[in-house]
């Protein structure tokens, strides 16, 4: 099911061993950069598109125009500075505008949502289309499945990914299997479940989890995790319109912190395609969601990587996978197994996983739990010097 997941990879180039000392002097790199500092954070990330021109050149971007605009791709396109919650809200607004069968519901969404992702939608589209549900996750998922089974577009919200487990039965036993078990005669392709995910600095056990791995084994579901406002909008619109049930996990620490220029028109980004952000030849670094910024920081703790032309582990021979969820049976395990099968003869070092520990996410210990820049850097160094 790797094909159903959008993963971002950052292969990068060589570094000199002397940089290690440099790195150790900057081991708190997951924090905002020091005043006048040189390390990127989310606020200064080069991954985020700071200009309209960069935003419009987003790889894979496809316009969903009412009229055929093939050939005049970017002429006259406008962008607006958005953070992730604004981009999500923008996508929901477009989905509701263009599809009369689309509805948005969940706990506390009518007033705008606890993360503001549904601000103003109830006023704009009415309470029949944007409404609160009673506090029942299994109910929300079941209700959404029923609507989608009738061909409607059901966009449900689970307030935190940590609370998706009461809906696990509905999502894994029902949503994932309805098309298959009915011989293709019923389906819930119109179902999208949005949910905030990953750590937020102080979320403790139940506002920090990354449960994507639990859903990855459920054939029939797609799991999508964006890393930025453009991705949040493009991937969410693709998820809503995908003919399969999709769980869309929004890294909640990025809701306000990740800001970039986002095209205001209706556009899609393809599901199931990884994106190479930095080309390189010596090592492949693969991640999704929040840790992408920790990876960027870690890379800058090395030399500026010279440009390369290879994107695959088969070429670089070395792979480091980064995710926030615990290691055991996490998504990294699946990727590592596939890579060792496909690239066995090309691997120059064991596949390394930098992940949360196999513990719950403990409140006061979070800085030591998450795979931050220094842990990523250390793994890169270990892997390159193997």
């Amino acid at each position: 099911m790797l094909a159903s997941r959008r993963l971002s990879s950052i292969p990068f180039a060589s570094h000199s061993r002397s940089r290690i000392y440099f790195i150790r002097r900057n081991s708190s790199a997951a924090e905002p950069p020091p005043a006048g500092g040189h390390l990127p954070s989310i606020a200064t990330s080069q991954i985020l598109k700071s200009t309209k021109e960069k935003a419009l050149r987003t790889p894979g971007l496809l316009w969903n125009d009412d009229e055929d605009t093939t050939g005049i791709v970017n002429v006259g396109r406008e962008c607006r500075k958005m953070n992730v919650y604004q981009a999500v809200r923008d996508a929901l607004s477009i989905a509701l505008t263009k599809d009369d069968n689309a509805v948005v519901f969940g706990e506390d969404i009518a007033f705008g949502g606890v993360f503001r992702c549904t601000m103003g939608l109830a006023e704009e589209f009415g309470r029949e289309r944007v409404f609160n549900t009673p506090l029942t996750e299994q109910g929300i998922a079941g209700f959404a499945i029923g609507m989608a089974a009738m061909g409607h577009t059901a966009i449900a919200e689970i307030q935190f990914a940590d609370y998706i487990f009461p809906a696990f039965d509905q999502l894994v036993n029902e949503a994932a299997k309805i098309r298959y078990r009915s011989g293709g005669r019923f389906n819930v392709g119109g179902l999208t479940v949005r949910t905030p995910t990953m750590s937020v600095g102080h979320g403790g056990l139940y506002h920090s989890q990354s449960p994507e791995g639990f859903f990855m084994g459920a054939s029939g579901l797609k799991v999508v995790i964006p890393r930025s406002p453009i991705q949040a909008k493009g991937l969410l619109l693709s998820s809503i319109r995908d003919p399969n049930p999709v769980i869309f996990m929004e890294p909640k620490i990025l809701y306000r912190s990740a800001i970039e220029q986002v095209p205001i028109d209706d556009f899609a980004l393809p599901l199931g395609r990884a994106e190479t952000l930095v080309a390189g030849a010596d090592l492949t670094l693969l991640t999704w969601g929040t840790p992408i910024y920790h990876c960027e920081t870690a890379l800058h703790m090395l030399d500026d990587p010279p440009p390369g032309d290879s994107r695959s582990v088969a070429r670089t021979g070395r792979l480091v996978i980064v995710h926030e969820a615990g290691m055991t049976a996490g998504v990294g395990a699946e990727i590592a197994a596939e890579i060792q099968k496909r690239c066995f003869l090309r691997l120059a070092a064991p596949v390394k996983r930098v992940t949360g520990w196999d513990t719950p996410v403990a409140l006061q210990y979070e800085k030591f739990y998450i795979p931050d820049a220094v842990r990523i850097l250390d793994s890169i160094v270990e892997t390159l010097s193997y």
């Binding site: 159903s4 509805v103 299994q138 109910g139 098309r179 078990r181 011989g183 293709g184 005669r185």
Partner: protein, 435 residues
């Protein structure tokens, strides 16, 4: 039509009739100075009554008004009720012979299923548990389709042979495909009801009808479903089949309250309990319940009381937890089919010869369908891998199918378990073995 005979719950009447002291700001609850607990949703502190039209020997009970049904409609009810045990007996025996893997009968619930099916419109969306085959048959699904699903052959329109027997489904008959996890269909039904409300040409015409057993009502999804359909609100009719047992667990170990019906008012929904062995009472109650569901646009609950005469399924021997004599007594004293037959005979609409002829015809029809289904091959083997996703096939599924193709080429002719199975598929599995 007969709502004056529908028992109404007067739960809104204040339990304490002393002078009250106004209301709480966010509630209509009257403030009273005396402490008073309650444990009944009836004003009289009694159990919720059971609505009945015909007594045990098919005679109208005192004060009951019969629904206006003509002879043709009554015969259709009766023939459909009789078809269910005919199918059950054959499928039960076929399972015992190992020709199908599993069967769940609905012996004892014929009146509940057929009476409610007849009260619904043919395009009301039905979400069932697994004992509701009669709804599909009432709607013209056909015995061949029943057999095809149970045998999982190439004609299985319910699911290409992927699910266990009795997991029927058909969008054409507005019957959502059955799944094994209990109660999952209950909140889904609320969503279906809401979708109907948002569909212009069905908004004031169609409802969602959701069946489940009293055991399934213990699941969290029951709570979620009734809560959602009442709160959001969604035109959804919930039909609880209370047959006294969830596999071996008697209902006395399933709940301590007054059955399932007592929970309805807790969700703020109109509720009625009906004698599930009285097809006319079920017909009347569900018709009125359906009318209210549509009129109010929100949930209504019907609890149909019956007795599970058969075993839970072919994997169950119910005499391990209940006396054979108890079952025999119930079959003799309170048989839903016999009760309605006596009524039909009293009307001059039925007689012993017709009974014999019907039974013979139904049995012949069922045996013919059984023989046809038995002879048909399964779908193509490649269907194992289709319909997991719509759209572009994921690479992992494509690779895994190719892996099976390779294995079949290596072992398909020599590994006996595979060789035997391959012969049961359409074209002997050649879509994969020769791919």
């Amino acid at each position: 039509m007969l709502c004056k005979f529908t028992p109404r719950l007067r739960s809104l009447r204040p339990l304490n009739r002393s002078v009250h002291l106004g209301h709480l700001p966010n509630s209509r609850s009257p403030i009273v100075p005396t402490l008073s607990f309650f444990n009944s949703v009836t004003a009289s502190d009694e159990k919720i009554p059971t609505f009945r039209v015909l007594d045990g020997v098919g005679k109208p009970v005192d004060g009951a008004q019969l629904p206006e049904i003509d002879e043709a409609f009554a015969r259709k009810l009766y023939e459909n009720m009789q078809l269910l045990p005919t199918l059950d007996v054959v499928l039960y025996n076929v399972q015992r012979q190992g020709k199908i893997s599993f069967h769940v009968g609905l012996h004892g619930e014929e009146a509940t299923i057929i009476g409610s099916a007849a009260a619904l419109e043919l395009d009301d969306e039905v979400l069932g548990q697994y004992r509701e085959m009669g709804v599909l048959l009432w709607r013209g699904f056909g015995i061949d389709s029943v057999m095809a699903q149970c045998f999982g052959n190439q004609d299985d329109i319910s699911g290409k042979g992927r699910q266990m027997p009795v997991h029927f489904g058909s969008p054409q008959h507005h019957f959502h495909t059955i799944s094994s996890p209990l109660a999952t269909q209950i909140p889904q039904a609320a969503g279906v009801g809401y979708a109907l409300r948002r569909t212009p040409d069905r908004r004031s015409r169609s409802i969602a009808a959701c069946y489940f057993g009293e055991g399934a009502a213990s699941e969290g999804d029951f709570h979620a479903g009734l809560l959602l359909a009442s709160t959001i609100p969604s035109p959804t009719l919930f039909i609880a089949r209370n047959n006294g047992f969830a596999i071996s667990t008697p209902s006395s170990e399933q709940y301590y309250g007054d059955g399932i019906a007592s929970r309805g008012p807790g969700y703020g929904i109109d509720t009625v309990r009906v004698d599930g062995n009285d097809v006319l009472a079920v017909l009347v109650a569900v018709r009125e319940a359906r009318r209210r569901t549509l009129e109010q646009g929100r949930a209504v609950l019907v609890e149909a009381m019956s007795y599970r005469v058969g075993h839970h399924s072919t994997s169950d021997d119910s005499f391990a937890y209940r006396q054979r004599s108890e079952v025999e007594d119930r079959k003799r004293i309170d048989n839903p089919i016999a009760r309605f037959r006596l009524f039909m005979e009293a009307q001059g609409w039925w007689n012993a010869e017709e009974e014999e002829a019907l039974k013979a015809r139904l049995k012949a029809d069922v045996m013919k369908a059984f023989k046809r289904a038995e002879a048909l091959p399964r779908c193509e083997l490649g269907e194992l891998f289709t319909d997991v996703y719509a759209g572009e096939e994921p690479w992992n599924i494509r690779e895994q199918r190719n892996e099976l193709v390779g294995l079949l080429k290596k072992y398909g002719k020599t590994w006996e378990p595979w060789r035997t199975e391959l012969s049961k598929f359409k074209n002997g599995g050649k879509d994969l073995t020769q791919a």
